[in-house]
Symmetry: C2
Subunit: 385 residues, 2 copies
């Protein structure tokens, strides 16, 4: 592997000049620049990253620390992060396997010196505490914090408002006995959605009833289980709000197995709006969360972080109620089928990323994409500095 010295020798200049050419730092004559570029191309030279970050203490890499989760939602968050990071010439070091605060800390430590900053998801209490410990080493952006972490920029989802709007919608449809399947205990998203559920009930004059709040852990299996339990309850609830889509899917499956019709005998709704749910039978009424955007904006927030850690921002990503067939608005159901068919026809088969563009906020992604290809046009980055 050739070094800066080889290039300098081949081009007949000093290493300083080569360095200046590659960093775009002034001044360097046109003739020298050309000779260096030719020599570099010839030798297939590329600056050594380790040496660069050693001297500059900048790695142009961001660490991404996520809990051990999976599924479409997380996949979309990572895509958003990846695209946005690429657009600003950064790479991402991913560690998504921590199951508890200790593993989290350990993963963070092993990233020291390897990254310029961190995007960390800290849904539970312990992780939030762990983050507080590492802010002295990293500039951290927190995703979905359970409670605000002082000194960190953060971005989270409007879980409470989303849940409220969903439950209010169910009440509007005439439901009075509305059950809920909770997410895993201690995670911020789950708690906020539960609080929204209760708040909406109270707001509409109903009383939250603990026996209607079933346990769940965001998996389909737990949704299935919760629905089975719910079916034993007399009188049976007429609506079921699951804290995420996967649990709603599991619940619908259990109801079907038991011969209970959705939405006629019980309405079912979810949260997140992952891509498949509009293809379910019936299509799921849910709360849309733009996971891709969540990731993309985390990067944005990191890039624009304040110099002064004391005034940091906390963005909140708004949600949107998406009414489809599973909640029993029959009108919505008919409209939805027509819509889906029309959309399917319109899309061209070649648009590989059509799925996302068909969804909300396609503008942001389009621009990220442009930025990405801009980056790739020039052979080398010139903004390492």
């Amino acid at each position: 592997m050739s070094t800066i010295r080889d290039v300098a020798r081949a081009a007949g200049v000093s290493i300083a000049t080569v360095s200046r050419v590659f960093n775009g730092t002034n001044p360097v004559s046109e003739v020298a620049r050309r000779r260096v570029e030719a020599a570099a191309l010839e030798l297939d030279y590329w600056p050594n990253v380790a040496a660069r970050s050693l001297i500059g203490s900048r790695t142009h890499t961001l660490g991404v620390l996520l809990p051990d989760l999976y599924g479409e939602f997380f996949s979309d968050v990572i895509r958003g992060i990846d695209h946005a990071a690429a657009a600003v010439n950064h790479q991402i070091l991913v560690a998504s396997s921590h199951a508890n605060a200790n593993e989290f800390l350990s993963a963070a430590r092993s990233m020291r010196g390897r990254v310029d900053g961190l995007i960390a998801m800290a849904s539970d209490r312990a992780s939030a505490a762990a983050i507080a410990k590492i802010t002295r080493y990293f500039s951290v952006v927190v995703l979905n914090p359970r409670t605000p972490v002082s000194g960190c920029n953060a971005i989270s989802v409007a879980n409470l408002a989303g849940a409220v709007s969903m439950v209010e919608h169910l009440v509007q449809l005439g439901h009075r006995r509305i059950a809920m399947i909770q997410g895993p205990r201690g995670t911020g998203d789950a708690e906020q959605r539960l609080r929204g559920y209760r708040k909406a009930l109270r707001k509409t004059g109903l009383r939250p009833d603990p026996v209607l709040e079933y346990e769940g852990d965001f998996t389909e299996a737990s949704g299935y289980r919760a629905a089975l339990e719910l079916l034993r309850r007399k009188p049976r609830p007429t609506a079921l709000f699951a804290a995420n889509d996967y649990m709603a899917i599991g619940a619908m499956s259990a109801l079907r197995d038991a011969g209970i019709a959705v939405p006629d005998e019980i309405a079912v709704t979810g949260f997140d709006d992952i891509a498949i749910v509009e293809y379910l039978s019936p299509p799921l009424t849910t709360v849309r969360v733009d996971a891709y955007d969540l990731g993309a904006r985390a990067i944005e927030l990191w890039m624009n972080r304040p110099d002064d850690a004391s005034h940091c921002q906390h963005h909140v990503l708004s949600t949107e109620l998406v009414v489809r067939g599973s909640c029993g608005s029959t009108r919505a159901r008919a409209v939805h089928v027509r819509e889906r068919r029309r959309r399917a026809q319109r899309q061209t088969p070649s648009a590989a990323d059509s799925r996302h563009h068909a969804r909300a906020d396609s503008k942001r992604h389009a621009s990220a994409r442009q930025a990405v290809s801009r980056r790739h046009r020039g052979r080398r980055s010139t903004d390492f500095k």
Copy 2:
């Protein structure tokens, strides 16, 4: 941030001794070791990664290069990679946004010096060519290569065999007019599945008919579209094999919208066995691919790569036919419901990762997990060398 010199001063030893303590390189006296460890703890010292990789030209990081894909399948592949890498003390640098060979090359180049090797997915022809260009800089493991890449270890899915077993199963159920929805043109997985479909037809004495091979691109929308098209065909096919689960979901949705009963009027099957499909109505008959394992074994393959690039291995991950309700084996359907219910009951709500363990090959994951926690027990790694 404290350096090795600070620690050396605090411990009253030379920097060489500190280095030896941290690398476990002999010999160092017990008393010196203890003093160094105390000083390091006191100063919260952690070796600078850039300096280490500069001198050692080893980064303990693996690059992961994936096309711009998403969904449960990819999410699982990444989890597998992540867990397995963590278990052997490596980190992963992810770039999953390349849409073509140029972007792929560019992403690979920007990883030079940052990683010790690469796990690259190269489903299409152009990417495979791109990989050939970078093998002189990296030791690469190729995921799902369309054609073997010389000098690279590779691991792929038994797409052909899986498709054959699925189509044979449909034939056994009495189907004669079996349609297929293809995956995106030019990607290896899609092509192999198509070839398997044709092969099975021929094997059972049927003739592959091009008009029954519908276009698709692995998205739900394309499956929906293909099913609409298929419905116009007279006589209507009695079975539909989609090249992946998402398209099968889309197709089932279109059929439902059109009032066609699955499986009574048409059987529908998929490929991949992503987690949700067993909760569909009817549950999807599909070919199971252990995506997690695919990722995990890629890491394994990289670790055990041969010194001599000339004899490299090509692993093939076997698949398994999973018969559920959507193909019309009524017996299978009844059994499935019982199974699902029993499994749901058995699982404890606290098992956050129960989903995966409930599936095939949980042993491998369990051991990866153990290795991960082993890693985290000691505060520092001693096998940097």
